[in-house]
Amino acid sequence: MNPPAADKLRASLSQGNWDRALTQLERLDPQVAADLFMSIPFEDQEVLFRQMPVEFAATLAGIFPYYHTYVLLHSRPVDELNAIVDKMSPAARMQFIDELPAEAWQRLMNELQTPHDAAAAAAPELAAPAIPHAPLEAPIIEARHIEKRFQRPDGTSIQVIAPTDLAVEPGIIIALLGPSGSGKSTLLRMLTGLAPTSAGEVLWHGKPVAECAPNVAIVFQSFALFPWLTVLENVEVPLVARAMEHPERHRRAIQSLASVGLTGFENAYPKELSGGMKQRVGFARALAVEPEILFMDEPFSALDVLTAENLRGELLELWLGKKIPTRSIFLVTHNIEEAVLLADRIIVLGRNPAKIRADFRVPLAQPRERNSAEFLLYVDYIYKLMTQPQLEAGPPVPGETKVPYQVLPHARRGTIAGLLELLGDRGGKEDLYRIADELHLEVDDLLPIVEAAVLLAFAKSDKGDVEITPEGKAFAEADISTRKRLFRDAALSHVTLLQQMHSALANKSDHTMSLEFFRDLLREHFPDAEVQRQIETALNWGRYADLFTYHADSDRLSLDELGVGARDH
């Protein structure tokens, strides 16, 4: 603290001389100025902040605690708020946004995207809930409370998609983002009418989807081309289905192929083409029908990085140049950067069961810079959302009081050790997207590893960062046999399924048990495919931890004698 400076400032304030107060502050070292600023009454802070030049305000805002910055920012009109955030140093802005609670974040993001109009400039109220973007035009699709359940043989059902409301409005690219197995593709199929909903309804222009045969097209991850047809014939397939006759059909197909740069390949067979070219055919086929909404189900996932990037760029170019005869694009992806790169609106899906965790606009101008601060803000935020499953735990639904069973993240124990070692090298803490970037891992691959480390209490995850715990540090630095012991301790104290397996085996007189018993146990809580993955992960961990051995031939678990021996010593 700087007593003389503080006294001078107070004097200026008591005289109501705001200009002088500002000049005094600006002359000081920013850190000192910030401290000083914080020491004056809040009402004065607000008045003073409102009059501050944008640059200076940005400098100070980068130093205040985030809640303080947040409140002060809202004392200024929206366009100025925008400018201030813009002027903050990238690191400071990142930290500020990083620390904001999700609701405040979403609210701020919405404000930042709002065009500079006067109505929005009116002083906002903090207590108001986050406003999802307001669609300007009538939606093309409206999904009302759609949900998906899978029937189990015993008559009960498992919910894979919780009741969801979703509207698709014209004129934008929407990205549906979520970890794998979260039900993204199922949701897409329900919206297109490919898959029935278990409850709720999907309306296209107000009519149920089953009745109106909507004009849609899907670009598939695996391309879904007919290998026995030439490129041209493949593009003509949907046109034949629309009873379009020969010369016109031919013309339309050629035109569609030309728009994706495939002129000259009409008579090639798909297997003669590279992956990227195949997906172009997929696009041409989809565009040929001039769909009202173009659906894309992980269209770039099966391609190599460069091809995917190239194709994304071309798609965007076509879309921005209004050369795509479609009103909206609905993209399903697990690639966060892809979503931020392309989408005007991002919907983040959580899993078990799938539900919308966030739904927000991305107001960044196209083309977007992957390394720009704004871009990274969005990427970081989505990481934060996806690593904090409890973030938006809704109110308990009546009738479903069953305590959710612990879900094992599908990570091999070797990758967990790898992550911990990396964290150890990085001084114990790191941003998730940086790790993903560095290891060339997609979020889909990275998240389970992080979740596993957190589950085992080897790491903590907070706001898009991972931090190693003392246990994790011990593990990362231990030798092979100690690691096994540490892993075993962690598994037995934190992993429900492994606890159950171990105690069941220990309590049986012959110390062996059929694995099917545990599969049955899990079937109470998960669909079959998930049961399989849970068991696989449990086996991977349990075998490493010497909790048991598994005999594939007889499908039985037995207590690991070596493990028991080791513990007895």
Binding site: R189, T192, L194, A213, V216, A217, I218, F220, Q221, S222, A224, F226, P227, W228, L229, V237, P238, V240, A241, R242, A243, E245, H246, Y269, K271, E272, R285, V289, A552, D553
Partner: protein
């Protein structure tokens, strides 16, 4: 790319064989029609001089061809319905499983009686009977193949078809049929080969007091065997081999080469089956013109017709559909019930000696089939692995083995029997030799395929660790070829049971030679029109084959596809 400027004469010369072939085909059809619509002659004299052979070969070929197309139509309908209608599937697939295990001869009496009753005054009646008989030996595996192909179409392809709203016709022609093509072609070849195998039984048979025979290669061979005419037998066998090899070159090779485009592969294979005949057909101006004025417009019109119908709104379609399906289902159920009751009544007529014959025969044939499989395995496993591990050798031996395999064992049987009788063995050994001749090829080909797919690195590991020869077999070869071996054994086992009806009972030198066995019981019951015995023996065989499939092979399949699968 074909050169742009081409002398018209060269084009015509190239098309000449095709045009001639079309004319020949037309003439053959004409003469066949004349024969089929002629009056009944069930006792034609089968001439044994070689000059009669071309005509007989044509007749047999025509029967097999018609039977094949009949099989194809039934296969497509049956497979399509079973794959698309879950309710029908539950009933159709077990039925198919059972039908497949019934030997051809057991179909003979009901089929013949029905056909002759249907068209009593024309040769066509008996001919149709024979064709349906051949059909019953061809159709089932084709149907299974189409059904399982259609059930296994990748999900995203189906979704593409659904989201782009393909009519059922377009979906069938552009997705389901092409996807089934490879399996269908392969099974068609097997089926037609099976047709040749049972040709002798299908062209000449006794039905009660009537001795029916139809002019053809099968009856020629049978007559020659009856007369003990070695020269005629050799002529007949040579003709048959010639016809089969020509069919292979002129029909199957081109079809296989053509069907490669239906492979679900993402990248182009390095080695593609080729056929000069196919190249000739593809380059032909005559054919492409013919296709341009017939097939192309027809395809276009059909596609558009079904698309328009699909797009048109169809009000209360569901309401109309239900009663028809119900009536059909109830009718089928009643028919089945009636058949079961009749069968039980027929079975009730079985006498104690009948039971003893069936029981004894089952035991004997069981031992014979298993012995055959063991013998076949003993020589094919080492030879197959030896060939399969040496790509150069297998390139040479494969075509030879394929020709050898295409010769139906039944055609050789008279020669084998003649030889065995001369050296002192009887039909006891003869039947095993015949079964062996008929079944060993399945095993050999599968083993060669298995051995050639063993990855080099695994072989190198075994060499590096200096595994002994025994260890090589125990640790690498046998586990690696296990899935292939199993496929071979399953096909061979089914084939052997079915072949026992011709192997255990034979008309030779004017007398009937037979040995104890279920196949002999069935053949004898057919000859003597003892329907209850025929039914009893057939049910026993079908039940046994289905049971063995379920209890033994299917379990081993699971093991093969989990533990012994070499994953790439």
């Amino acid at each position: 790319m074909a050169p742009k400027q081409e002398k018209p004469l060269t084009g015509l010369l190239r098309d000449l064989p095709i045009i001639l072939a079309v004319i020949a085909l037309f003439y053959a059809l004409l003469s066949l029609t004349r024969y089929w619509t002629g009056p009944v002659n069930t006792q034609p004299v089968i001439h044994l001089q070689p000059g009669a052979l071309p005509k007989y070969a044509l007749f047999s070929l025509a029967r097999i061809t018609v039977a094949y197309f009949l099989s194809l139509i039934v296969t497509l309908i049956y497979g399509y319905v079973a794959a698309h209608n879950a309710r029908a599937e539950r009933f159709l697939i077990p039925l198919l499983d059972t039908l497949q295990s019934i030997p051809v001869l057991s179909f003979l009496p009901p089929v013949m009686v029905a056909m002759v009753a249907l068209i009593p005054t024309r040769q066509l009646g008996v001919e149709l009977g024979s064709i349906v008989l051949i059909f019953t030996g061809q159709v089932w595996n084709m149907t299974f193949s189409v059904y399982s192909s259609m059930k296994n179409i990748p999900r995203e392809l189906l979704e593409a078809a659904q989201v782009y709203r393909l009519s059922w016709w377009q979906r069938f022609v552009q997705l389901e049929l092409p996807y089934s093509a490879i399996g269908l072609v392969w099974n068609s070849m097997m089926s037609v080969a099976g047709g040749w195998f049972f040709l002798m039984a299908c062209e000449m048979f006794v039905l009660g007091n009537r001795d029916l025979r139809l002019p053809g290669l099968g009856s020629y061979l049978q007559t020659a065997a009856n007369a003990g005419d070695t020269r005629a037998i050799l002529w007949g066998v040579s003709t048959m081999v010639l016809v089969i090899v020509m069919m292979d070159q002129l029909i199957w090779r081109p079809i296989i080469a053509w069907s490669q485009k239906f492979k679900m592969e993402q990248v182009e294979a390095l080695q593609v089956p080729r056929s000069p005949i196919l190249d000739l057909l593809r380059r032909s101006k005559f054919l492409s013109t013919a296709a341009a004025i017939t097939v192309t417009p027809a395809r276009e019109a059909l596609g558009l017709f079904f698309a328009r119908r699909h797009l048109a709104p169809r009000p209360n379609r569901v309401a109309r559909k239900f009663p028809a399906a119900w009536i059909l289902g109830i009718a089928a159920l009643l028919g089945l019930l009636y058949a079961v009751v009749q069968m039980l009544i027929e079975l009730g007529r079985l006498t104690l000696p009948d039971f003893r014959a069936i029981l004894l025969g089952t035991g004997a044939t069981f031992l014979r089939v298993e012995l055959t499989l063991v013998l076949a395995g003993l020589w094919t496993i080492p030879v197959g692995v030896y060939i399969g591990l040496r790509p150069k050798l297998s390139a040479i031996t494969q075509p030879i083995a394929q020709i050898a395999a295409s010769v139906p064992a039944t055609a050789l049987f008279p020669i084998v029997l003649l030889f065995l009788i001369r050296v002192g063995g009887g039909i006891g050994i003869g039947s095993i030799v015949l079964l062996l001749l008929g079944t060993q090829w399945y095993l050999l080909f599968n083993i060669i395929a298995g051995a050639s797919s063993i990855p080099t690195d695994l072989k190198e590991v075994c060499d590096v660790f200096r595994l002994s020869r025994v260890e090589h077999w125990r640790r690498l070869f046998l586990p690696a070829i296990f899935p292939y071996l199993l496929t071979g054994f399953v096909t061979a086992s089914g084939g052997a049971w079915n072949a026992s009806i011709v192997a255990e009972y034979f008309h030779f030198h004017g007398q009937t030679i037979s040995t104890t066995g279920l196949g002999a019981v069935i053949s004898r019951a057919t000859d003597s029109s003892n329907f209850s015995l025929l039914l009893g023996a057939t049910v026993t065989m079908a039940a046994l084959v289905v049971t063995i499939n379920r209890l033994l092979w299917r379990r081993l399949y699971v093991l093969a596809s989990t533990k012994y699968k070499l994953e790439s």
